[in-house]
């Protein structure tokens, strides 16, 4: 059924809403990546970047 809809043209309003949902999802994922990075540094400390080889 999703295929059938994908062949139909979306109204400008539907396109706008889909775009805003996609942007919000992308932003959420970006924030999560940043959050995990910052938490890793906070928990392990900056020394994690200076490990002896």
């Amino acid at each position: 059924m999703a295929d059938r809809k994908s062949h139909q043209s979306l109204t400008p309003e539907e396109q706008k809403r889909r775009r805003s949902r996609s942007l919000a999802l992308a932003l959420t994922l970006g924030v999560l990546v940043l959050l995990f990075y910052v938490v890793t540094i906070a928990k392990l400390g900056p020394g994690v970047l200076q490990r002896p080889m």
């Binding site: 059924m1 949902r21 906070a42």
Partner: protein, 318 residues
């Protein structure tokens, strides 16, 4: 629930949704999180953190608070999914995204479950698993115990269900200290005891709404007079409980004054609600109690936040 709620959403949205296309805007999904409740969760959780001495990294504390907020929002979304049928017949809730036809029940369910699982796992990884377990219990209690079971079956629904709304300070303290102490239990008790007079004051004003939705709120089942008595009893218990942080030593001088004056204010209004039983004055004073109860709780927690978060703590004893 789902059969009834499905029949309530707009037919056009139904057809688009079955074609695999969501109709919700970002703001609709945000509304599913019950932002005002989420604010209360964040606020009380933040106070639970600042009254707990800990040396946890600020980033860890911030992310923990964020996950508690997301968990609270997720339980709001799951509550809206389950209660879509009764939300549609109540004036206060009929514009929510599901009854308004903007979001499908299945979308709200998926959204709520994803955020619930995500917030619990991230809180566990970032802080500790005691806090994560408490957050999971809070979500379970609000969605399953309150929304699915108690809300439609007993007049004590909001008394027991109020525990879910009172848990955030305990979760927050566990997140930053790794344990639960009497300080956060007292904060839990204050919110728990505050919930019945707060919601029953609203239920007195909106009893027609709850009657139409078939929810056994206290005024509809036991009657308005019995509700007024219960409001008075709970407020008599709440006012001295509000001073418990002073006795435990984490409520300072400013808090003692606010708790004392606010407690008297709550008592005065509860007595008025008990005495005025007919017509417009009765409704007006119930509405005043509802409004003042929000201010009372806000001031109690805001004072603790200022005392501990900004170094204004002045002990009452010694």
């Amino acid at each position: 629930m789902s059969t009834m709620s499905n029949s309530l959403v707009q037919p056009q949205v139904e057809s688009l949704a079955t074609a695999g296309l969501s109709q919700g805007d970002v703001s609709d999904f945000f509304a599913l999180l019950k932002p005002r409740v989420m604010f209360l969760v964040v606020f009380t959780a933040l106070v639970g953190m600042v009254v707990s001495p800990s040396n946890v990294h600020p980033v860890v504390a911030f992310v923990s608070l964020l996950m508690i907020a997301v968990g609270g929002g997720a339980s709001g979304a799951l509550n809206m999914w389950w209660d879509a049928d009764i939300d549609a017949v109540m004036t206060r809730t009929r514009k929510r995204p599901i009854p308004a036809g903007k979001i499908q029940p299945s979308e709200a369910l998926a959204f709520g479950v994803t955020l619930s699982v995500g917030s619990v796992i991230i809180l566990g990884l970032v802080s500790n698993w005691l806090a994560a377990g408490l957050l999971a219990f809070t979500i379970f209690f609000y969605v399953v115990v309150y929304s699915m079971w108690l809300k439609r079956s007993t007049q004590q629904n909001i008394v027991i269900g109020g525990a879910a709304g009172a848990l955030p300070p305990i979760v927050a303290q566990a997140a930053v200290t790794g344990h639960v102490s009497w300080d956060s239990v007292v904060l839990f008790a204050i919110i728990f005891m505050w919930t019945p007079p707060h919601f029953w004051a609203l239920a007195l004003v909106k009893s027609g709404d709850y009657q139409r939705a078939g929810i056994p709120m206290m005024p509809n089942v036991a009657g308005p007079d019995a509700t007024r008595l219960q409001i008075l009893v709970y407020t008599i218990l709440l006012a001295p409980l509000g001073l418990a942080p002073v006795a435990l030593g984490f409520g300072g001088l400013a808090y003692a004054i606010i708790a004392l004056v606010g407690g008297f204010g709550m008592l005065a209004l509860a007595v008025q609600v008990y005495r005025l039983r007919e017509g417009e004055p009765a409704m007006r004073v119930a509405q005043q109690l509802f409004g003042f109860s929000i201010l009372y709780l806000f001031l109690l927690f805001a004072t603790l936040l200022v005392e501990h978060g900004f170094g204004f703590f002045r002990p009452v004893f010694g």
